[in-house]
């Protein structure tokens, strides 16, 4: 094996020069590819909707007056019909809000529940592991949690951090399918994609748990979340379709809104470690 001069001026065995030249050629190709990727990523980053940052409770509006953790069109429409009736002008607003919520429960939620789910109503607080063991909420409650939601977008995933429970959730953007033997977890497996200005997240593999709408759900729950920003960018709007063949005769459509809140921060939970024997 002879000796030659490499591109860097140092003496290298000739075979290594070829390797070095080849290496430089490959490096050049990689650099071009990397440049292309960078441009591509920059384009992708520019073209995808931007949800990153801190969101929190939205400004107080009548639309959300009847929404405790989530909204339904049935509840909102009923509250407005009550407000638009002059006969109700002297009734206290909390009374009208309660009536709208009862209407939502009886006319929207209850008719969509299976007999199996109806038997779980009302949920007993002492059946609730979050209540008993300080175990964080499951998916069906966490996605409607009040207060902060911090979103960080990456090329391959989105990280969501909630103020309530300091819960963290990953939305995978790689179109992965759940493995057949993948066990259920509190927050399930979430896979997302961008559709224009909307982030669509499909979630499955959620363990049976409690809900905010008053009935239990099974491990067969599946949800499709659609996140979008309002026209002025100040609000993050979520529309969720929740299906559960065990508990629902047809999907529930629930809504939630956050307001842009860059100054807010999330604090850790203190003295709220799940008790021994509880499951994460």
């Amino acid at each position: 094996m002879g000796v030659g001069t490499g591109l860097d001026g140092r003496l290298w065995p000739k075979a290594d020069i070829r390797a070095d030249l080849l290496g430089d050629f490959m490096q050049a190709k990689l650099a071009i590819a990397a440049f292309g990727l960078t441009v591509g990523c920059a384009y992708a980053q520019d073209s995808r909707p931007d949800f990153s940052g801190m969101w929190s409770n939205p400004p107080v509006t009548l639309e959300e007056a009847s929404c405790r953790f989530y909204c339904t069109d049935a509840g909102i429409d009923h509250l407005f019909s009550l407000l638009d009736d002059p006969n109700n002008d002297t009734r206290p607003l909390p009374q009208l809000i309660d009536e709208a919520r009862n209407h939502e429960r009886d006319e929207y939620l209850r008719p969509r529940l299976t007999s199996a789910a109806l038997e779980t109503y009302p949920l007993n607080p002492t059946d609730d592991r979050s209540f008993l063991y300080c175990e964080p909420w499951g998916f069906a409650r966490q996605i409607f949690a009040p207060h902060q939601l911090e979103i960080t977008q990456y090329d391959d995933r989105i990280e969501m951090r909630y103020g309530e429970w300091d819960a963290r959730r990953t939305v995978h953007l790689d179109a992965r399918e759940p493995e057949t033997n993948q066990s259920a977890t509190l927050l399930g497996l979430s896979v997302g994609r961008y559709e224009g200005e909307t982030l669509v997240v499909e979630t499955s593999r959620v363990g049976a748990n409690s809900t905010f709408w008053g009935w239990a759900h099974s491990g067969r729950l599946r949800a499709v979340e659609r996140y979008s920003r309002s026209d002025d960018g100040e609000r993050l709007e979520l529309v969720v379709s929740i299906d559960d063949p065990w508990g629902l005769k047809e999907p529930l459509i629930l809504k939630k809104t956050w307001g842009w809140a860059p100054a807010e921060e999330i604090f850790p939970y203190v003295d709220c470690e799940p008790a021994e024997g509880s499951e994460q």
Partner: protein, 153 residues
């Protein structure tokens, strides 16, 4: 779990209450209010719920430690609360909903008055006022449209 006796449930509640994240209406009777007046022995601005312990003299002159539970740091910090908002040794008056069990516990729902006279309100206390104003605006709009319709007819 539903087969648990009431006594066992009560025991579970009492042992888990301090660190559980629960529905306040399950523990506290929000149809009633109680006011306590005493000296702060502990204040912890934490999540999920902040806690205040207050030594109160009962009718017999005995000292009873009341635990005042409230929204967590998440909510209170947005109102400007810090670890120093309430000081140990300070006299406070707190009005809220008592525990259904009769134990000396309170859910801070109405007002807290500090030793220097500062009045503190729980998170969301201004929400109803804002909603009432929005309701009046909507009613005025509705009545105005109604008047226009009548004039048009």
């Amino acid at each position: 779990m539903r087969s648990l006796s009431a006594a066992l449930i009560a025991m579970l509640l009492s042992t888990q209450l301090a660190n559980s994240h629960h529905s306040s209406s399950a523990i506290y009777d929000q149809s009633r209010t109680v006011t306590i007046d005493g000296i702060v022995t502990e204040f912890r601005l934490v999540n999920p719920h902040a806690m205040l312990n207050v030594d109160v003299l009962d009718d017999a002159g005995d000292r009873v430690t009341w635990s005042v539970e409230m929204s967590g740091k998440l909510s209170l910090s947005s109102l400007g609360w810090t670890d120093d908002t309430v000081s140990v040794g300070e006299r406070v008056t707190v009005t809220g909903s008592p525990a259904r069990s009769g134990s000396p516990r309170l859910w801070f729902t109405q007002q807290m008055v500090l030793g220097d006279g500062t009045e503190l309100l729980p998170p969301g206390s201004d929400r109803l006022e804002i909603l009432e104003e929005l309701r009046r605006q909507r009613a005025r709009l509705r009545d105005g449209q109604s008047d226009e319709q009548k004039r048009g007819e």
